[in-house]
């Protein structure tokens, strides 16, 4: 299918170009915007693979929530990204070497797959084509995968408890809202009548 090939190369090129933009943009806000573009084109690649549920999830979760959160953090924190990037040229050769070794290793692994095939006797089970992605995930998520699903919920709970334990501080002297006190406040508790003699003024 020529159309599919065109779509693939277009979206792959946009993904790689915007990923490069993320690390090379001078303005951190631009980096985050490039990141959103990278997520979006990756979602397009998922659609081409027939994983439309994953694509929607990527858009909703990563673009909708995570990237917007990034944007908030970048705008609110006073981080000098230019200073962070100063060692770039210095670490470039070593980083390039490591990246090169990783690339060679991945090529070696994928070429073994190409020649020997993946696991000889055990292919991944064929996808039933008459049901959609979302339906297929829905069928196992609360049945076969309920154990993992609940465990994932507990992991998130621990993260939440951890964030509260490590950051919540009850500082003395902070004026908090106390609704019942505030509503019950009347003229008797809120006012004090002071008699002032002429010519003396008032001292607290």
């Amino acid at each position: 299918m020529a159309l599919q090939a065109i779509a693939f190369y277009l979206m792959a090129a946009v993904t790689i170009a915007s990923a490069f933009g993320v690390v090379s943009a001078r303005n951190p806000v631009h980096s985050v915007l490039f990141l959103i573009l990278a997520f979006f084109s990756a979602a397009g690649l998922f659609v081409l693979l027939g994983a439309e549920f994953l694509a929607m999830l990527l858009v909703v979760v990563y673009v909708g929530a995570v990237a917007v959160l990034f944007l908030f953090v970048v705008m609110m924190l006073d981080v000098d990204f230019a200073a962070l990037r100063q060692g770039f040229a210095q670490y470039m050769p070593l980083g390039g070497l490591v990246a090169g070794i990783l690339a060679v290793e991945m090529i070696v692994v994928s070429s073994t797959v190409a020649t020997n095939g993946a696991a000889s006797a055990n292919d991944a089970p064929a996808v039933a084509t008459d049901i959609s992605n979302a339906e297929a995930i829905g069928r196992v998520l609360y049945t076969d995968y309920i154990y993992f699903f609940q465990a994932a919920g507990l992991v998130l709970l621990v993260a939440m408890i951890g964030a509260i334990v490590l950051t919540l501080r009850h500082k003395p002297g902070v004026r908090r809202q106390n609704i019942s006190d505030q509503v019950a406040r009347g003229p008797k508790t809120g006012m004090r009548i002071v008699q002032i003699k002429p010519g003396e003024g008032i001292s607290e």
Partner: protein, 478 residues
Amino acid sequence: MNFSADISLALPEVILAISALTLLVFGAFAPRQTNALMVASMAALAAAGYAAAVGPMGRGFAGGMIADNASAFAQVAIYAASALAIPLGMKWFERRDVRNFEFPILILLAALGMGMMVSAGDLISLYMGVELQSLALYVLAAMHRDNAKASEAGLKYFVLGALSSGLLLYGASLIYGFAGSTKFVDIAAAVHGAANTGVIFGLVFLICGLAFKVSAAPFHMWTPDVYEGAPTPVVAFFAAAPKLAAMVLFARVLTEGFGDVIWQWRQILVCISLFSIAVGAFGGLAQQNLKRLWAYSSIANVGYAVLGLASGTAEGVQAMLVFMVLYMVDVTGFFACLTALSRDGKPMETVADMAGLFKTRPAIALAMTAFSLSALGLPPFSGFWAKFYVFKAAIAVSDPVIQGAAIAGLVGSVVAAFYYLRLIKVMWFDNAEGGTDPIPGEARAIAIGAALFSFPVVLAALVYIDPLAKAAALALGQ
């Protein structure tokens, strides 16, 4: 298998999860009721341990979890160690006026994660268990947040732990891609006979990720810093139970998933084991801080446990289980002693601080002597029996590499003898610099109980531990 049968298999986990959630709500409304929280969380752990010991066996949740002799054995030991950590930590935090009702809840959630690790039958439950356990431990390490060292320890543990999780996940994804399944039994079927390079590649990453969690060299870098910075009772907890959980998980993945390719992973484990023993023995020589010293000691001890696993036989796995359980008692007891000791409100943590301890605190000094001699492996203390099991299993394998590694391990424990004996000499024969603050009751009880276990109770306890560990090892082999 229907759902209610699955739930009954996972009863220990269900008990822990429900009690953690209930206590969290209770604690949020009544954070001052620390004693009630302490008793309730210890009771939850006791109930979970009982459920694990007498519960039904089998595979549940489409092979996602396995309840067998091995998981029951490990779960009982883990829940017992976690239950001891709760009073030790809560009283310690109370003395420092840090009121954190979340401490027992995080211990419960960490214990739940460890329970999932030892009963994992699938790469997904493996990862979920590891992550639940480590996330709770990161928070515990940083819990004393006004202390800069504790915050540093928590952050360091978190960053390096995240890196190791990345390695673990990368390995798991490769294994899934090449074997076509995340279940250990299906992986075993896929690697049967012809092992694919991609699967082995993934296995190496998986081993690296797990080696991080047990702090085996060369993935040990976080251990000394984290042990030094984290609150002492928290160290007492995470030097013991999580190590056992990760070792059992190690054994389960390797024997159930990759039992047919033992010649592939045995050489990796022998290297990790020898390197850990060497790093632990030589790295400990220069340490002055006792928490760092015992961090190196734990690296060396994990090396011996991995050596037992590397022999690949049921005897080897049994030796590893016995070793880890006996070691857990030692390390909990030693850190309970450190929790107890302070001078003018400052914790006594260096070797020099221990000068003349025998004259001022004879009971604690005797207990610390027992733990040191046991970690050194001197008969008749428990550490000797632990090492005896490991070396016996290693010598029995007719492979010169394993036998050579066993001899190298013996040499390593002779080197490590220096720092244990130095500590004993300082405690017994140097002059005291001053008195110590009063010893808190719960730390004294745990320290003396553990010391009595390391000798003489161990001789009687081994009669029970030996057949249980053997049954557990046989269950792992299937």
